[in-house]
């Protein structure tokens, strides 16, 4: 392909930003051979996977992505400008039009809009950001605070603003008979340095895994009954076995840290407070599946997590816990951190692959599945952050101890993200099988002892439940039988004072905004769903048949989970009579 590049030139700063990035990546290979290849050699030569980091560099350097800047990036990477523009314009955090030097994105999503903008505006004023440009943002994963914003400013990395606008300071608590598990290094301590992590028992799991060998690790994960915490509840052992059985020379393990489901913040708390746990767990996954390439894909709105993970990876590498001879055991494994740019859909596993590869974050049709055709078309095991951290306990303490908590079909513990009208919002660890009544009780019940009117379980892709579901054991099997879902662990409570029609309309707006646009049922369906709700609340008429048809076509005929679940929460609210 001959590239035709337009006449616009990059500024010196833009050129420098791109050249520095590409220089820092060198050949983008690690010692055991080539990595980062999509569709064969030609794509490798294109180094297209540097497109997303390159766009970040341009956005940071000038506050938007200019034609000249994009031209220089395209020339450097051998990517056609029309294609690169299609990628840049896909992401919320990139502007393809001239933009102010400082832009503040304020969360107006379902948990934060309960508290309004006042507290966060006051905080922005105190920070000297009163007169800067504002944009509304979908959930920023800080729902436990109740008020949140991110600041994009030319020349600097993105910065987060958290304001306690909710009922109370966020808490991090384990409610287990035997002391914290997933939160064991977080509750009441600081494990941001490698030494502290090692003192807290860090890297015992990897040492055990080396001793046990790959097969035994996978057997343990299977015997422990670990299922994915990212929403789909797929058995992790089955996934790992499938990748381990692939014989190709290049395989990948990925930590999905895109966490953008409204109401979800568990992975942020884990990554910010216990970054080495994710690095270690991903290394165990690499060893078990025979993958040498590890990736962590973090949403762009998590600057603290990005910094701490980056530091943790560097420290681990310096200590030979990553690299070409991990633990002196001859294991080759390294981790590349990639940062998203504002797109919920990039948490869908195949969209995430495309995003890393430098393409638009459009999901791929499955089959084929990631275990055979994943990142760069190669075998890939992708797991949620919480799923991976579970593996540490399974490997160190053994299957029996792990199974002491939870039920036979849903062993272990679960992180719940409490927000909304609860008295003490925050992250709670409970055994699987706890009831919603207990979960809400542990969080102090509702603010001012109000009555719960509805609770959103599992986020925007989840379902609303009312008081009749308070005693359903929160396990995979019981929730499925009851027709509800745990999703990503969201528990967002609403009381009589809340207008759930506003909440439902915001959920519809969320899906409309986040649809990748690839398939008709979701691209047009989410648009129409939003119009239907907005219009209905204006006129008082709700066309139930049209809503049902929309819900059905999105669920039946969409390509990916976003479309499949886009009417789920709203449909449940309709059925419970919450929107009248």
């Amino acid at each position: 392909m001959d590239l035709k590049i337009g006449p616009d030139e990059a500024t010196d700063a833009e050129r420098q930003a791109v050249d520095d990035l590409i220089g820092a990546h060198g050949g983008a290979t690690i010692a055991n051979g080539e990595r980062l290849v999509l569709g064969g050699v030609r794509r490798a030569a294109e180094r297209r996977h540097l497109l997303l980091p390159g766009l970040h560099a341009l956005q940071r350097s000038r506050g938007f992505i200019s034609a000249g800047g994009l031209n220089h990036l395209c020339e450097s990477l051998g990517v056609p400008p029309a294609d690169a523009y299609g990628v840049a314009s896909f992401y919320d955090l990139f502007s393809v039009e001239e933009a102010p030097d400082t832009v503040v994105r304020v969360c107006d999503d379902i948990a934060c809009r309960i508290n309004g903008h006042d507290a966060i505006e006051a905080a922005l004023g105190d920070a000297g950001l009163a007169d800067t440009s504002r944009l509304d943002s979908p959930c920023l994963g800080l729902c436990d605070f109740g008020g949140a914003a991110v600041v994009q400013r030319v020349g600097t990395d993105l910065r987060g603003v958290r304001v306690v606008a909710g009922p109370a300071e966020p808490v991090i608590e384990s409610h287990l008979p035997s002391g914290p598990r997933l939160l064991r290094r977080i509750v009441g301590s600081d494990v941001a340095s490698l030494d502290a992590y090692l003192d807290a028992g860090g890297y015992r799991a990897l040492r055990s895994a080396v001793e046990l060998g790959a097969d035994a690790v996978i057997d343990a994960v299977s015997a422990a009954g670990l299922r994915g915490r990212g929403g789909a509840a797929f058995p992790t052992g089955v996934k790992w076995r499938a990748v381990a059985d692939q014989t190709g020379p290049t395989k990948h393990v990925i930590a999905n840290a895109d966490e953008s489901e409204p109401g979800t913040f568990k992975d942020r708390v884990l990554m910010e407070n216990d970054p080495f746990a994710l690095v270690e767990a991903l290394t165990v996954a690499g060893l078990a599946t025979g993958s040498t390439n590890g990736w962590i894909y973090v949403r762009g709105e998590y600057p603290v997590a990005v910094d701490r993970l980056r530091a943790a990876i560097a420290e681990a590498r310096a200590a030979d816990l990553l690299g070409t001879d991990v633990l002196g055991a001859g294991i080759v494994f390294d981790i590349d951190l990639r940062v998203g740019a504002g797109a919920y859909i990039c948490g869908e596993e195949t969209a995430l692959f495309n995003s890393i590869e430098g393409f638009r974050g459009e999901p791929r049709q499955k089959p084929p599945f990631p275990t055979t055709h994943g990142l760069f078309g190669q075998p890939t095991a992708i797991n949620n952050v919480e799923t991976l951290v579970n593996v540490l306990d399974i490997v160190t303490d053994g299957v029996e101890v792990y199974r002491e908590l939870g039920t036979a079909d849903s062993p272990g513990t679960r992180l719940f993200c409490l927000s909304g009208a609860v008295a003490r919002p925050g992250l709670y660890e409970h055994p699987m099988g706890v009831t919603l009544r207990q979960v809400l009780g542990a969080a102090g019940g509702l603010v001012d002892r109000r009555e719960m009117r509805a609770t959103l379980l599992g986020g925007a892709a989840g379902v609303f439940v009312d008081a009749t579901s308070l005693d359903v054991p929160l396990t995979f099997e019981d929730t499925r039988a009851a027709g509800i879902t745990l999703g990503s662990g969201v528990v967002m409570a609403f009381d009589e004072t809340h207008d759930l029609r506003d909440t439902a309309a915001r959920i519809a707006e969320f899906f409309r905004h986040e649809s990748c646009g690839q398939c008709v049922p979701c691209r047009v369906g989410t648009q129409r769903q939003h119009e239907l709700l907005a219009h209905t609340f204006g006129s008082g008429s709700f066309d139930a048949e049209l809503f049902d048809d929309l819900a059905a076509v999105m669920k039946d005929a969409s390509i990916c989970g976003l479309g499949h679940t886009a009417a789920s929460a709203i449909g449940s609210a309709v059925r419970l009579g919450l929107l009248t």
Partner: protein, 290 residues
Amino acid sequence: MSMVEPGVAAVDLTVDGIAVQVNAGETILDACSRAGIDTPTLCYGETVTPVNACRVCVVEVEGSGPLVPSCSRGAEAGMVVSTRTGRVDRSRRMVLELLASSVDLEWADDALRGWIERYGADTRRFPHGETATVAQDPKIHDNLYVRDYSRCILCYKCVEACGEDAQNTFAIAVSGRGFAAQISTEFDTRLDESACVYCGNCIAVCPTGALTGLIEFDLRTAGDWRPEEQTSTQTVCSYCGVGCNLELHVQDQRIVKVTSPMDHDVTLGNLCVKGRFGWQYLGNEIGRKR
């Protein structure tokens, strides 16, 4: 049925209760065709990589939760496929209703209008005034062709044709996201300032009339496009030695469009600027317009 190629493994499945045999590697859509079942398709094209985006071809496959796009799912032994269930009908009808509510389908090919009828799609189901559409002005930047994205269903065929499937030019791509997604050059720059080489291969695959030659666009706009009166003459392009087949479409003794047969082994429907537009401006530079 015994149409499978010798030497290629055969796959047995059933479609609407009919036993069908296809070659390994063929799709459910192929199986439907072999069973004599007509399946609507919009983003599928013989000459382009399936992107399975329109979802009008969905079928029910036993054991699969959501419906399955027949155009891109490989047929597997023992599959039980149904194409006439309530779920399939509803999804196909809704896809057509959703498209009709947002896109101007007036110039779409006859097949599309036939499916709207077959599935009883109500093209006015979504109330006017409250319903966003992709309506916009046509882009007319030169005297060769027009891009009218108010007629675009985002089937991706033009992008595939311009990219790896045929032209390798990559002048156009999908930009934006969700309902705002659109086919675009970089920064929506004019086509004559983009990488476009005016091969017109994107026009050849566009199913809705969003991409047309300027002459066709003007005739259609004036209500003077009369395909039933047009004659078509086959010839071989004389500009170079490749030997591309041309079909000259003539209306009122005037060439109004040039295509190449999709099944021609040299072109697969593709041409270059000389074959596609050379008759129009022999030897002239591409003119700028507006």
